[in-house]
Amino acid sequence: MSFREKTAWITLITLVLASLLFVVHPPTDLTLAPDSDLFRFHVLLLSIATFVVIEIVAIVVVALRAPRDAKAPFDERERLITLKAKGLAWHALAWSSLGSVMITIHLGANEIGLAYCVLASFVFSLMVNYAARIVYYRRGA
């Protein structure tokens, strides 16, 4: 498995873990009511911090184990894979953002709810991006 395929796996798994942390495993800050916006914001910050820390540590470990692969520039196949995956991700972002806006309008959510939905769309598009990269790496291009 190439360095870039490994980093795609790391990013995808970390994104899923951070998203799960935000959805199902909030911090136990007893001073805040679970339904408050501030509480959700703290969980969001914790999720982002978790994502950044795991991502950096995992990629540094992988890069240290294969420094030559990590330093190698993208070749044409890897550039093609990146381009194709980004194309899919843009579609995912556009449609899920539009869906978020429609859903929040119908549900009557406030600005904060809308912001979370758009953020979820962004995270979803990143997941699509890295999942597509993995599929293309497995298939050849």
Binding site: R77, R139, G140
Partner: protein
Amino acid sequence: MTATAITNTIRKLRFERNEMTQQDLAERVGVTRQTINAIELGKYSPSLEVAFRIAAALGVRLEEVFSYDGGAPAPRGTAR
């Protein structure tokens, strides 16, 4: 992805050249080992430039490395 209509003899040519590894060839061509593997297995068709570089790295002409088995396309405007 289905295999392309372009076939190649990279594997054979590598072994004829003192069992050159995919990594050695990749370094000479300037791509990753995984890309050489994908080309060898017919999962990826390289650009013309990389195809020429592979041929040069193996010391043969392009047509000795790659061949096209898809037949000629129908002329534009003709019914299939």
